[in-house]
């Protein structure tokens, strides 16, 4: 036991030192890939998925840096000279002339590996190749083909150490299908894989696949199916933050369409919290905030103004800011104008139907403002001020507002007036509503705390040290007891000590 412990410690140390080196001078992409091979190898041999996670974390930045030549070299080095897998892998890479030859000369010497690498490395390389293929438009069909083949290979291999890489491959597959414009075709593939993943308790892949499916349903506006999928599956608790963020975003979307705004609000809040920082993933951050603003408006709240000043959000949310202004002032005409002005934007964001639902909120705010400003106002004036079509409508609308508790007042039909409860008549207590909001906020804080506790990582084998300490203490105690027993009668000894 002790020797392995030491080994691991050594490993840790080595890692730290290599990491420090990494920090000192950014390695070439090729070196980075090679470093990743070592990490994956270690992950497989120690059954510790942490190392693979570390490899995958750098994936996006790495993909941006590499080109065909680098991948080619990496493949050359990873496999023995006349490996069949190598040949098939290389055949996927489009030929490019840039610096290919000279780099090969560079790496010709150390390429003396004789054994086939672990399949995880193979899949990792394939993942890199797919991402590389996705970079240019004409290679997308090829990427699609390769990703489908890779997925089949993964499923045939069925190795648990492959799971986290597999999740990324699914993502790449989705990208390939989506860019190609036939996302619907990939759905049966996802569904079948999701079933297998659930049966194998393959949490990483499952989380990734549920998100893929939701995305594909929502892309085709199949909210019904998406909702059913959500109710029939359980999202794995151990899923990573990015997957959770996506999942919450999709849930928020579904809930908002179903008019369940408070749930949508909670989900979107979680999505924002779990999302990567705004500068890293601005697209997601913006998309979530757009929906968040609309949902908040639909709930009758006015979003925080600070959101619209955020450097990442300021520009894309401009249209939404104008909507917020219109809703806040309760001006129906301004609202209508803004909606038609930014219609294309809202269509693209798929928030148009949600925004048209805001119409009634605008009217309500308008009436509310009037009821606060006037103690007696004729229906005709309400009509003019709120740009309603007829007095008759105004009467019904005001009646509904009174019933729904938006305003406190009375209608006097004979004179066509709306009388609003005087200054004293307005009752605003701290009722159950306040308690509810309060408890919602507390719930949010508590969940945040619990999740942060769960997300903490403890040093490996720390408890063993404690155990050893405890054992030592127990032994000492035993010895002491023994001594006491032996020297039971030796009172002088004991007394001498005092």
């Amino acid at each position: 036991m002790k020797s392995t412990e030491k080994d691991e410690k050594k490993d840790e140390k080595k890692e730290e030192t290599t990491q420090e080196e990494v920090k000192k001078e950014p390695p070439t992409p090729l070196a980075e890939i090679k470093g990743n091979f070592v990490l994956i190898d270690r992950a497989v041999s120690t059954l510790e998925p942490r190392f693979t996670h570390r490899v995958l974390r750098t994936l996006t930045t790495l993909v941006k840096k590499i080109d065909e030549g680098i991948i080619r070299n990496a493949i050359e080095e990873a496999y023995p000279k006349d490996s069949a897998t190598k040949a098939t892998l290389l055949s996927w890479i489009p030929l490019s002339a840039s610096g290919d030859v000279e780099m090969q000369v560079d790496s010709a010497k150390p390429a003396s590996i004789t054994t086939e690498p672990v399949p995880e490395i193979d899949i990792y390389l394939r993942l890199l190749v797919i991402h590389q293929l996705l970079k240019s438009k004409e290679n997308v069909p090829k990427a699609k083909e390769l990703s489908v083949e890779t997925v089949q290979k993964m499923q045939a291999l069925n190795r648990r150490s492959l799971d986290s890489i597999a999740a990324k491959v699914w993502y790449a597959l989705e990208r390939a299908f989506e860019i190609n414009g036939d996302l619907a075709e990939a759905r049966p593939l996802f569904l079948a894989a999701q079933r297998t993943a659930a049966l194998r308790h393959d949490d990483d892949t499952q989380a990734s696949l549920i998100n893929r499916l939701l995305r594909s349903y929502l892309a085709y506006s199949l909210y019904d199916q998406a909702d059913k999928l959500v109710s029939k599956t359980t999202f794995p608790v151990s899923a990573g933050n990015p997957q959770y963020a996506r999942y919450h975003y999709y849930l928020g979307r579904i809930k908002a369409v179903q008019l369940n705004y408070s749930d949508a609000h909670t989900n979107l809040q979680q999505a924002i919290r779990r999302a990567p920082p705004a500068t890293v993933a601005p697209g997601f951050y913006q998309a979530v905030h757009k929906l968040f603003v609309v949902v908040e408006l639909l709930m009758g709240d006015i979003p925080d103004r600070g959101i619209f000043r955020h450097p990442v959000l300021e520009k894309p949310l401009k249209g939404y800011f104008e909507i917020v202004k219109a809703v806040r002032t309760g001006s129906l005409s301004q609202f209508q104008q803004t909606v038609s002005k930014h219609a294309a934007l809202f269509q693209a964001d798929k928030t148009h139907t949600l925004i048209t639902r805001l119409r009634q909120n605008v009217i309500k705010t308008g009436i509310r403002r009037l009821s606060l400003a006037y103690s007696l106002i004729s229906l005709k004036d309400i009509c003019v001020k709120l740009h309603l079509d007829s007095e008759e409508d105004a009467e019904y609308i005001v009646g509904k507002a009174i019933r729904d508790g938006v305003i406190d007042g009375r209608l006097i039909h004979e004179d066509g007036w709306m009388a609003c409860g005087g200054a004293g008549g307005v009752k605003r207590g701290y009722g159950s509503e306040v308690a509810e909001i309060f408890s919602r906020r507390i719930g949010y804080c508590l969940e945040l705390h619990n999740q942060s506790v769960k997300a903490m990582r403890y040093p490996l084998n720390a408890h063993r040290k404690e155990l050893a300490d405890a054992e030592g203490a127990r032994e000492r105690e035993k010895e002491l007891a023994k001594e006491i027993q032996e020297g039971d009668l030796d009172d002088e000894d004991l007394g001498g000590e005092f």
């Binding site: 269509q347 509904k400 159950s432």
Partner: protein, 265 residues
């Protein structure tokens, strides 16, 4: 059942459906026969590749079935036909030529959801329509229920009432009638809250009653006090509602906080 026989039945159905007035009873018997035929040929819920003409026939039969259900006032049956039609509209939408009945039936489905007060379903269905949002206003079959929903939500009940006459298809009226019942109740509850008293005449215009006796029975149902000599309805003013403290809820949430806090400390 042979393919030929199916064809004959289909033609028969078409004839009796298009006859004016259509022979509803005969349609019903033909439909059930045809459905058995469709099941035998695997066209009721088609999967995979099929002959386009066959699919079109199957779709026509189901569409007639859906409209027939409305005419016979059988809403659950409409529901079944509509869900069977979904396959043809979404999965085979790219293969089949568009049907002229598709949007009327989709619109009918929307109104049905509205009358049953399934607003969440209404919006989900609306969201999943295959037409872009700005085209909704141009599509009279869809814009009708969409407008109805909007007016209902904001409280423009008179617009709903007036739109009753402007239904794009005859079948819409069946649902609009049942919608009126809901609206009346809505208006009545608004009036109870908004007025202290209301002259009988005005009440009947507000509630869209054409004669007083209808109003009086309605008032009786809602328990309004009617003063016939003054021809005035007085609404019982509800005293200050006792605000109930949700004790159980407060206790349970306080306990939950205590538990969580204990974990933290």
């Amino acid at each position: 059942m042979a393919q030929n026989q199916l064809k004959n039945l289909y033609n028969d159905l078409k004839r009796s459906f298009e006859a004016k007035p259509s022979d509803l009873k005969r349609c019903g018997t033909l439909l059930s026969k045809l459905k058995i035929g469709l099941i035998e040929t695997g066209l009721l819920t088609p999967q995979g590749e099929h002959n386009v003409d066959d699919l079109v026939v199957a779709r026509d039969i189901l569409e007639i079935g859906a409209i027939w259900s409305i005419r016979t006032r059988d809403v659950p049956s409409f529901d079944r036909y509509f869900s069977q039609l979904q396959t043809f509209y979404t999965d085979y939408g790219s293969v089949l030529p568009p049907s002229k009945n598709e949007y009327p039936i989709r619109g009918l489905n929307l109104i049905r959801l509205l009358t049953q007060n399934r607003i969440a379903d209404f919006h989900t269905t609306l969201e999943s329509l295959p037409i872009p949002a700005e085209a909704i206003a141009d599509n009279q079959f869809i814009s009708h229920p969409v407008n109805l929903e909007q007016w209902l939500m904001e409280g423009s009940y008179s617009k709903v009432w007036n739109a009753r006459e402007r239904a794009p298809v005859e079948e819409y009226k069946y649902f609009v009638d049942s919608l009126m019942g809901t609206i009346r109740n809505e208006i009545a509850s608004c009036e109870e809250a908004a007025y202290e008293s209301l002259p009988l005449k005005d009440a009947s215009t507000l509630l869209f009653f054409s004669n007083q006796s209808e109003l009086l029975t309605f008032a009786q149902q809602r328990g309004w006090q009617v003063d016939l000599s003054k021809s005035l309805i007085t609404f019982a003013t509800k005293g200050e509602e006792q605000v109930e403290i949700p004790k159980e809820k407060l206790i349970s949430s306080s306990l939950a906080y205590a538990r969580e806090l204990e974990q933290i400390v």
